[in-house]
C-alpha cells in the first residue's frame, strides 16, 4: 500500500504546538559549504554561521589544492618553474608566465626586444579577455543565466584556438620565456586576431543586452557584497575588486611595463563597490583590452622576439647551435645547469585579470631560486570574504565567489 502524504493541516497544527511550547528555542545554524559545491569554483570550503538565511560569519577553509609550488620552485631551475606558473591560475596561464618572467628579468636586469614587448602586451590582454569571459560566463551561470555561459564560451573558444596556433596549447600555454617569448606572431594569427577584434564589440553589447537591464541580474548584484574604498585598500585587495570600489590602482598605469605606456587606454572605476560595479568594471576592461590590442597590432615593430647578446640566459637559435661552438656550449649549459642569476632579491607585481600577481624572488647566485614567494590575488581577496559576506543571504555567498573571480589553483598554490 502506498504511503499517503500527510495532510497539510497536521503540519500547521504541529507548528502551532511548537509556538505555544515553552521549549521553543532558536540557535545559529552552522553550515558547511563545499569543498564539493558547484558554485565554489574549485575546492573551497566555507563554514557559514547562519541566522535563518542570513550570514553571521563566514570562515573560508583553504588549502584543498595546495601543491607546494613555492617549495618545488626552490629545487628547480629558473626555466623549469615557468610551466608551474601555468598551473597557478589555470584559466589565465599567459599572464602568470608573464608575471614570473618579469620578476626573473628584473633580477637579471635583462632588456627585452621591442617586438617581444608588444607581443607580450597583446597576448596578456588577449588572456585578460579570455579570463573575463570565463568569469562572466560562470558568474552568470551561478546567478542562473545559463545562456551567458554559452555565449561567452563561444568567443573564448576563438581566442583559445588562437593560443593553440601560437604555442600549441590552449590552457597551460608555457609561452613566455626569460628574455622574450617562445614563438612569433604569424601574419595568419594577426589576421585572425583582427577578425576577432572586429566582431568582439558587438559581442560585448550582446552580453550587456542580456544582463544590464535584466531584473534578476540587477536584484542579485546591486547593493550586494558592498565594500568601501577604505576597507578594500586595508584588506589589500587588488584588481577589479579594488577598482570596483573606486580606487585608482592599476599596475599597468602606476608602474608601466611592456608596451602599456605606448598605447592609449583608460582605467574603468566603479562607484559603490558592489557586485554590479565589479561586473561593470570587468565589462569595460574587456573593451579597453581590445583597444590596447588593436593599437599594439598597428604599432607592432619588426625584430627579434628573444633577447640577443644575453649569452648564458637565453637559448641561442637552433641554426646557430648547429654551426657555432660557442652557442652549442651555451645551449648545453642552460639546458643541463640552468640560468645563473646574480645574488639579490626583487618583488615584481604584475596586473593579471584577477589583480596583482607578485613574485618575490631571493637569489643566492645559483641556478635555482633560494626562496620564491607567490603573492596571489585570489588568496588575498579571500581574506576579505568574511567582511563582505556578513549580513547577506546564503544565495549571495555564491555571487561573492563569482565576484572575486576566485581560482583555487592560484589561491592555494
Amino acid at each position: 500500500m502506498a504511503v499517503e502524504q500527510p495532510e497539510q493541516e497536521t503540519a500547521i497544527k504541529s507548528e502551532r504546538v511548537v509556538e505555544e511550547s515553552p521549549l521553543r528555542r532558536t540557535e545559529d545554524l552552522l553550515l558547511n559549504m563545499g569543498p564539493q559545491h558547484p558554485a565554489t569554483h574549485g575546492v573551497l570550503r566555507v563554514i557559514l554561521e547562519l541566522e535563518g538565511e542570513k550570514v553571521l560569519k563566514a570562515t573560508p577553509d583553504l588549502g584543498f589544492l595546495h601543491r607546494g609550488v613555492e617549495k618545488l620552485a626552490e629545487n628547480e631551475t629558473y626555466n623549469q618553474i615557468i610551466p608551474h606558473t601555468d598551473r597557478l591560475d589555470y584559466v589565465c596561464s599567459m599572464t602568470n608566465n608573464f608575471a614570473y618572467v618579469r620578476a626573473v628579468e628584473k633580477l637579471l636586469d635583462l632588456k627585452i626586444p621591442e617586438r617581444a614587448e608588444f607581443i607580450r602586451t597583446i597576448i596578456a590582454e588577449t588572456q585578460r579577455i579570455v579570463g573575463h569571459l570565463f568569469w562572466l560566463g560562470t558568474q552568470a551561470l551561478d546567478i542562473g543565466a545559463m545562456t551567458m555561459f554559452f555565449w561567452t564560451f563561444r568567443e573564448r573558444e576563438v581566442l583559445l584556438d588562437l593560443f593553440e596556433q601560437l604555442c600549441g596549447a590552449r590552457l597551460t600555454t608555457n609561452y613566455y620565456r626569460i628574455g622574450g617569448v617562445d614563438s612569433d606572431l604569424t601574419p595568419e594569427i594577426i589576421t585572425r586576431l583582427r577578425k576577432f577584434l572586429h566582431h568582439f564589440p558587438a559581442a560585448i553589447e550582446e552580453y550587456e543586452a542580456l544582463l544590464a537591464n535584466n531584473r534578476i541580474w540587477l536584484a542579485r548584484t546591486k547593493n550586494v557584497a558592498v565594500i568601501s574604498a577604505e576597507d578594500a585598500i586595508n584588506f589589500g585587495l587588488t584588481g577589479p575588486v579594488l577598482r570596483g570600489s573606486g580606487v585608482m590602482y592599476d599596475i599597468r598605469k602606476a608602474e608601466p611595463y611592456a608596451a602599456y605606456d605606448r598605447v592609449e587606454w583608460d582605467v574603468p572605476l566603479g562607484k559603490h563597490g558592489d557586485t554590479y560595479d565589479r561586473y561593470w568594471v570587468r565589462m569595460q576592461e574587456m573593451r579597453q583590452s581590445a583597444r590596447i590590442i588593436r593599437q599594439c597590432l598597428d604599432k607592432l615593430p619588426q625584430g627579434p622576439i628573444l633577447s640577443e647578446n644575453a649569452a648564458g640566459v637565453v637559448l641561442p637559435p637552433k641554426e646557430k647551435v648547429m654551426h657555432d661552438m660557442e652557442s652549442l656550449i651555451h645551449h648545453f649549459i642552460i639546458v643541463t645547469h640552468g640560468v645563473r642569476v646574480p645574488k639579490g632579491e626583487v618583488y615584481v607585481g604584475t596586473e593579471v585579470p584577477k589583480g596583482e600577481l607578485g613574485f618575490y624572488i631571493v637569489s643566492d647566485g645559483t641556478t635555482k631560486p633560494y626562496r620564491l614567494k607567490i603573492r596571489s590575488p585570489s588568496f588575498v581577496n579571500m581574506g576579505a570574504f568574511d567582511h563582505m559576506a556578513r549580513g547577506y543571504l546564503i544565495s549571495d555567498v555564491v555571487t561573492i565567489f563569482g565576484t572575486y573571480d576566485v581560482v583555487m589553483g592560484e589561491c592555494d598554490r
Partner: protein, 167 residues
C-alpha cells in the same frame, strides 16, 4: 640613502639596522621589537602613506644566528611607492608582533607565514594553519624540511624508507 629609509632612521634610530637598494627597490631592515609602531608610522605618516599591504612572508637562513627573516611588502596608493620591510627572528623565540591591527589584509598573510614557516605572530586574532591541515607535522618551507620521505609511503613498515634507499 633613500629618503624613506632616512625618515625611518630619524624616527626610530635604535630600531633601524640597515637600508639596501637593489634594482631600484628599497629594502629596510629593522629590529623586531617595535615592528608594530614602525608599521603604524609607515601607514599613518602623510609623506609615506603606505596604506596598501602587498605581502607578508618569511625567508629561512638556517646558518644565521637570527634564522628567519620576516619580509613585509607595502605599497602606497596615493604616493605610488613601494617598500620592503624586513625583521630578523631567532629560532628559539620564533615570534613577532602581528600587524593585522593596522592592515586587516595581514590576517591571512600572517597565517600563511605561520603555517609554512612556523613563525608565530603575537596578538594575531586567529592564528591557525591555513593551507595545510590542522594536524600537519612541521613547517614545509623551512630549509631543513625534507623534500621527500614524509609522505604516506613512510607509514608502511614493510617498505624501505626513502632515506635508506639513497644509501
Amino acid at each position: 640613502m633613500h629618503s624613506i629609509a632616512e625618515k625611518i632612521k630619524e624616527r626610530f634610530p635604535d630600531e633601524f639596522v640597515e637600508a639596501r637598494e637593489h634594482r631600484g627597490q628599497l629594502a629596510v631592515m629593522v629590529k623586531k621589537g617595535r615592528i608594530v609602531e614602525i608599521c603604524r608610522f609607515l601607514h599613518d605618516d602623510q609623506d609615506l602613506a603606505f596604506n596598501h599591504i602587498t605581502d607578508v612572508t618569511a625567508v629561512d637562513y638556517p646558518n644565521d644566528e637570527e634564522r628567519f627573516e620576516v619580509v613585509y611588502h607595502f605599497y602606497s596608493i596615493p604616493k605610488n611607492q613601494r617598500i620592503r620591510l624586513k625583521a630578523r627572528v631567532r629560532e628559539e623565540d620564533c615570534a613577532i608582533d602581528s600587524v593585522s591591527g593596522i592592515w586587516q589584509g595581514a590576517n591571512f598573510m600572517e597565517r600563511e607565514t605561520y603555517d609554512l614557516m612556523g613563525i608565530r605572530f603575537n596578538g594575531h586574532p586567529d592564528l591557525r594553519r591555513i593551507l595545510l591541515t590542522d594536524d600537519f607535522d612541521g613547517h614545509p618551507l623551512r630549509k631543513d624540511y625534507p623534500v621527500e620521505g614524509r609522505g604516506w609511503r613512510n607509514t608502511f613498515e614493510f617498505l624501505p624508507k626513502s632515506e635508506e634507499v639513497e644509501k
